[in-house]
């Protein structure tokens, strides 16, 4: 019955592309966090009146973040193709999708991290200074733990966004569920493939959001 309805759906192909999506989203989330977190921290710390107050650095970072955030993802992807090729040796496939995904989302995450860190009570930072904490200790023992729920929420939002972008990367032959949906669902009018991939993507987003929410709740002490 079900297999009659989904006549065009090849479970093996579905499974493979799902793996690719997980791979893309997983690694790009990882690298986005590795890039976005320090970037967000640096922006906050160098902002006026903060621990490492430094106007030029702050403004340069701020402009860079804004530029990359305002570029439409598809254009960004094309623009940095040479860079991608240099980095991963190819401009096709799952690996090639990761650099643009990271560069597209890290500035976004950096802003979310910035907001999260700004929410940390100034009084607590001052308290740490009064106890002789170094800047590094304030970052690792005060700012990050205090902002942890908000940062996790930010990473969750970013990851969900990455699921969407990874599907878009399918246009440039990056593989994954998006690629499957475009090649079969759209170009060959196999509506059943389209529906199945969409359902899987929606499910994936649900799961990511749920895990994120759980973690936020787990780390919230207020």
């Amino acid at each position: 019955m079900l297999s009659e309805l989904l006549v065009n759906v090849d479970p093996k192909e579905l499974w493979r592309t799902f793996g690719e999506t997980i791979y893309m989203v997983g690694f790009s989330t990882l690298f986005t966090a590795l890039l976005g977190l320090p970037l967000g921290i640096l922006v906050v710390l160098t902002s006026p009146g903060h621990l490492l107050q430094n106007r030029p650095v702050y403004q340069v970072l701020s402009v860079i973040i804004n530029i990359f955030r305002s570029l439409p993802f598809v254009i960004l992807m094309i623009m940095i193709l040479p860079f991608t090729k240099f980095l991963v040796g190819t401009s096709l496939g799952v690996e090639a999708a990761i650099p643009p995904l990271v560069i597209g989302s890290a500035p976004f995450l950096a802003r979310l991290v910035e907001v999260a860190l700004r929410e940390v009570d100034r009084g607590v930072i001052e308290m740490s200074q009064s106890m002789g904490a170094s800047t590094w200790q304030i970052i690792t023992r005060v700012l990050l733990p205090e902002a942890r729920p908000a940062i996790i929420a930010g990473i969750t939002i970013t990851t969900v966004g990455l699921v969407g972008y990874s599907a878009m990367a399918g246009i440039l032959g990056a593989g994954g569920l998006g690629d499957l949906a475009i090649r079969y669902g759209y170009q060959r009018f196999q509506t059943d493939v389209m529906i199945v991939t969409v359902v899987i993507i929606v499910g994936l987003v649900q799961v990511i959001q749920m895990v994120g929410d759980r973690l936020v709740l787990h780390f919230t002490r207020k």
Partner: protein
């Protein structure tokens, strides 16, 4: 223990300099509880924050236990700050850390080993009476309990000095009393020097040894609490003192004195008699009033205690021959009472 020398602080607001502290010279002895009182905006917080250089003075030096903090490198200052505890009006606890971890925070900053941290925090929890709350989070505690955590944390590194910026201003009167008592106990037990900021004269009266009054960035008056209390010099000091002993001559009395003829008026006098320390419990006034031919009427009276010093203040109306009144006032003074003729 603390010497502030020619301390000045200016804030830069919109490229203009706003003076907050002007020519502060202050010495705070070891083991004292030193109170600083002033109105909102007088510069209290700025002053106390200059003591651990949370606020960098524009000029002058801050010497704590022989070390001029203004001359230290960033690293050396961090080290020195470990010996200066601070507690805050809004507690400033780490909301993501348990009570235990909050108290352990300064010890972890100082990279103490685990066993030592455990022992020390357990001891401090005991001292501030929070042993059973050790694994809770700050959000689960009351304001008074949070301030106890703040105090325990400030004591973790065995500081030489404890700075308290409006430590009780966010607390109700009962809790305020218990926190003040805790501070006084710690001062006695550990011989810790405490600098305390407040806008409430009651706090000064209850636990301070000395007090400085700050107004518009200047220290306008300072001295032993009892002295400042009983004979305030500056108008602003009198205003603060009035917070805890608010007496005004009743309007009826003023009116009836106004109606009196000059020679009758000469036989009436309203005096305020203050006594301090041991004289509080001696019948000095009675001796005078008994031996002289006059009558008296008590209008207002306080017998209380300033930290450990008993004191009393009576406002009495005396009636008698002018010469007798003059002599009685003299006799009061001879016996060491402070007499101020009010009317």
């Amino acid at each position: 223990m603390i010497h502030l020398q020619n301390l000045q602080k200016e804030y830069i607001v919109n490229k203009k300099s706003v003076p907050a502290l002007k020519q502060i010279d202050l010495t705070i002895e070891k083991g004292q509880i030193f109170g600083i009182i002033g109105h909102s905006g007088a510069g209290k917080s700025t002053l106390i924050r200059c003591i651990n250089l949370l606020e960098e003075p524009t000029q002058g030096s801050v010497i704590v236990d022989g070390v001029d903090l203004t001359r230290l490198s960033k690293k050396a200052l961090q080290e020195e700050r470990r010996h200066i505890g601070m507690i805050f009006q809004h507690f400033n606890l780490l909301s993501s850390a348990t009570i235990f971890e909050n108290i352990a925070f300064p010890l972890r900053l100082a990279k103490k080993d685990k066993g030592e941290i455990d022992r020390k925090v357990t001891e401090l929890l005991e001292l501030v009476g929070l042993t059973e709350h050790r694994n809770k989070y700050p959000a689960q505690l009351s304001g008074g309990q949070k301030q106890r955590v703040g105090i325990a944390r400030a004591l973790a590194n065995d500081p030489k000095v404890l700075l308290c910026d409006e430590a009780t201003s966010a607390l109700d009167p009962m809790t305020t009393q218990s926190i003040l008592k805790l501070l006084a106990d710690i001062n006695k037990k550990l011989g810790l020097t405490i600098v305390l900021i407040t806008h409430e004269m009651q706090v000064i009266r209850d636990i301070c040894d000395r007090v400085a009054v700050i107004d518009g960035g200047y220290i306008v008056e300072d001295g032993p609490v009892a002295e400042v209390f009983l004979s305030p010099q500056q108008p602003i000091t009198k205003e603060f003192v009035a917070q805890v002993s608010d007496f005004e001559i009743p309007a009826e009395l003023l009116a009836s004195y106004g109606r009196m003829a000059t020679d009758e008026r000469a036989n009436h006098r309203v005096v305020q008699v203050s006594f301090l320390g041991d004289t509080t419990f001696q019948p000095l006034m009675f001796e005078v009033l008994h031996s002289e031919d006059l009558t008296f009427n008590i209008l207002h009276g306080t017998i209380s205690r300033m930290k450990d010093t008993p004191y009393g203040r009576l406002v009495i109306e005396l009636q008698g021959d002018k010469a007798v009144l003059d002599r009685s006032v003299e006799l009061f003074r001879e016996r060491g009472l402070d007499v101020e003729v009010m009317l």
